[in-house]
């Protein structure tokens, strides 16, 4: 059986390797577009002076959430001593590290002068949530890499699982708060802005955290499906069942929080914030919003609570994908309404920074750069660079899965040598 497993893992390893190559290729193409963006500036994106944050920041927030979600789940296992979930930890960490790297990539892609990123450290101002985020994300990444090191490095080979677990348990007491903090701070980048009424809410951090857990757990379900054939350590049916329960709980929480927010704004009405809410409910973002709620939250809720569907990993994956899409849309539906509705709507509006040349016989403005109505549509470049980040995250996750697979076999072989009395023998 061992041989068969080995053989399986090798052939599946080839398939995984092909996917890894594809992801790498996409990431490289995206990098090429990024170089173009470095040369020409951010004008290659669809952003303007009104909607000054777009797809990059949205994806950044999404990745942070995805990352934090995964880590929250796996750290909670140690902090709250949920034994079954402890086995999810390695894949959870891998996902966390991959996604936070994706987040970092997106943030760098969004910066006008990325070569100056160290200015946040040198002379950085601690009044800014972005400074906090920088440090906390760095800390978070270090913890994530530390935990990966615990799982995968040769130093830890041969050490008993219990020893590892005790270190991880200690680390979890740091990593859980950090994971919550990292996404709260990302939320505060928006939530502390009095000047953007839609963002200015006390429950921005709770909303972000709950949707982070939703997306993180969803991702784990997808990974569970993808690894169903050779079985990823920690994602067996029972663990998956626990994840499902977690997901259901947090979907409900997330719906509740967002409902509170929108209901409060819509009820009072007349303010810029309520106008933003109206954009979501009935305005230009309504299609995205209602897709998020219905297809992205309610349908997965049905799938995850339905007795027959619950058992299918395939359906779990569908639910997982839908909730991830939902959370991505949620990021859009939080960032864009805050920017689209401006405080001073007097004509002619805001100087958008876009000079559109006249198509007539002389060089002059063809359109006014002013606009009282904000518009935003991501360009090809933005979409490709974002896709590249996703591809890179996928690549790192698959690399992690490789390492987990190797970790699994190594550990169990070693342990087998060490003792035959442990429960691990039954895993073969």
């Amino acid at each position: 059986m061992e041989v068969a497993t080995l053989a399986n893992s090798v052939s599946l390893g080839n398939e995984r390797k092909v996917w890894m190559l594809i992801c790498l290729a996409i990431a490289l193409v995206a990098f090429g577009f990024y170089v173009n963006q470095l040369i020409n500036g951010l004008e290659v994106t669809g952003m303007n002076n009104i909607v000054s944050w777009g797809l990059y920041i949205i994806t950044f927030a999404f990745f942070v959430g995805l990352s934090a979600g995964g880590l929250i789940v796996s750290s909670s296992a140690y902090v709250f001593k949920i034994d079954k979930l402890k086995e999810v930890a390695p894949i959870g960490i891998v996902v966390a590290v991959a996604c936070i790297l994706g987040a970092a990539a997106m943030i760098v892609a969004d910066m006008g002068r990325p070569e100056r990123i160290l200015n946040i450290i040198v002379g950085g101002k601690f009044t800014s949530p972005i400074t906090w985020d920088f440090f906390v994300i760095s800390l978070y990444l270090m913890i994530g890499l530390y935990e990966c090191w615990i799982f995968f490095s040769n130093k830890w080979k041969g050490k008993s699982l219990e020893k590892r677990e005790s270190v991880l348990a200690k680390a979890a007491f740091i990593s859980l708060p950090i994971a919550i903090l990292v996404h709260s701070i990302t939320a505060w980048i928006f939530g502390l802005q009095a000047g953007r009424p839609f963002w200015d809410t006390a429950i921005m951090a709770p909303i972000f955290i709950s949707s982070a857990v939703v997306s993180g757990t969803g991702l784990l379900l997808v990974v569970a499906y993808l690894g169903r054939k050779n079985g990823i350590k920690g994602l067996d049916d029972e663990n998956v069942g626990t994840l499902v329960k977690v997901l259901v709980g947090f979907i409900i929480l997330d719906l509740f929080l967002f409902f509170c927010e929108l209901f409060t704004l819509t009820y009072t009405g007349g303010t810029a914030a309520s106008e933003s809410a109206a954009l979501l409910l009935t305005g230009s973002l309504a299609p995205l919003f209602w897709f998020e709620i219905i297809a992205g939250m309610l349908i997965p809720l049905f799938i995850l609570t339905n007795k027959s569907l619950k058992r299918s990993r395939g359906w779990m994956a569908v639910a997982g994908i839908l909730v991830m899409v939902a959370v991505f849309l949620k990021r859009i539906n939080i960032v864009l309404p805050g920017l689209l509705v401006i405080n001073m709507t007097d004509s002619p509006g805001v100087s958008t920074g876009r000079f559109v040349e006249s198509t007539g016989p002389f060089f002059e403005a063809g359109q006014t750069p002013f606009s009282a109505i904000a518009t935003y549509a991501p360009t090809m470049t933005e979409l490709i660079i974002t896709a590249g980040a996703f591809a890179f995250v996928g690549f790192v996750i698959m690399l992690g899965v490789e390492l987990i697979a190797k970790m699994d076999t190594k550990t169990s072989a070693k342990d087998k040598q060490l003792s035959s009395n442990t429960q691990l023998a039954s895993d073969i």
């Binding site: 020409n40 500036g41 951010l42 004008e43 994106t45 952003m47 303007n48 002076n49 009104i50 000054s52 944050w53 969004d110 910066m111 006008g112 002068r113 990325p114 100056r116 990123i117 200015n119 946040i120 002379g123 950085g124 101002k125 009044t127 800014s128 949530p129 972005i130 400074t131 920088f134 980048i189 928006f190 802005q193 009095a194 000047g195 953007r196 805050g338 920017l339 401006i342 405080n343 001073m344 007097d346 004509s347 002619p348 509006g349 805001v350 100087s351 958008t352 920074g353 876009r354 000079f355 559109v356 060089f363 403005a365 006014t368 750069p369 002013f370």
Partner: protein, 230 residues
């Protein structure tokens, strides 16, 4: 007591001619597509020229030049991670272009949409190889940094007034230190009622507006000299 530089705009005098906005672009070499100063009006339509209809059914149009408010409690300064945006001792919210990383947190923070970003390398007509339009003391900005009205800090440091103030053909803009009771602007502000924009957001702007005068009643008395203010 330290200075607090402020701007007072007389909306009765202001005719919305856009001279201050165009001059600002020239003096500070602001690229095409961006403006540090813009004239908002309570009119509607694409150019704000369609007058609003007042309560008495008559059309009315009021012009409001709008720029960086140099807030005392500046949200942009709080939001900037690198300190590229900072408050000077004289009250000016200043910008250090060599530190700015272009994250645009300040733009998201500004409730007045006063900030503009160099999405690409600023396009300018005329553009010179080794020089730029406008005041030589104003630094050129590379692409990828945020910029905004600086109360012409290079000029104010030299004891001059900002370009918009010295250029307004209607003399509708007054600039000075409102912490100095003997300054012209302090005198004017104490004589008239004035307001700032979005005051309830707590930003404490340093740009003030005096409202247009109420319309004079025209009285057509046969006798009585004819001049009536009522």
């Amino acid at each position: 007591m330290s200075k607090r530089l402020a701007l007072l705009i007389d909306q009765d005098r202001c005719i919305g001619c856009w001279t201050c906005a165009v001059v600002c672009k020239m003096e500070n070499n602001v690229g095409l597509g961006n403006h540090w100063n813009r004239i908002l009006s309570n009119g509607t339509g694409e150019y704000g020229e369609t007058p609003k209809i007042g309560l008495d059914g008559k059309p009315e149009l009021v012009f409001q030049p709008t720029t960086c408010m140099h807030c005392e409690n500046a949200p942009c300064v709080k939001a900037c991670p690198t300190g590229a945006t900072y408050k000077r001792k004289d009250g000016i919210t200043a910008q250090n272009y060599s530190i700015c990383i272009g994250c645009r947190a300040c733009m998201a923070a500004c409730p007045y949409n006063a900030r503009v970003f160099n999405w690409g390398t600023a396009q300018q007509v005329p553009s010179f190889e080794d020089d730029h339009v406008g005041d030589a003391r104003v630094p050129s900005r590379p692409k990828g940094v945020v910029e905004k009205c600086t109360f012409c800090q290079e000029k104010t440091d030299a004891g001059e007034k900002p370009a918009c103030v010295t250029s307004c053909p209607a003399h509708a803009r007054v600039f000075g230190d409102i912490n100095d009771p003997s300054s012209e602007i302090s005198g004017l502000m104490s004589e008239s009622s004035h307001h700032s924009l979005l005051e309830d957001l707590g930003t404490k702007p340093s740009v003030f507006y005096t409202a247009p005068r109420r319309k004079l009643k025209v009285s057509y008395n046969q006798d009585g000299g004819g001049y009536l203010g009522e």
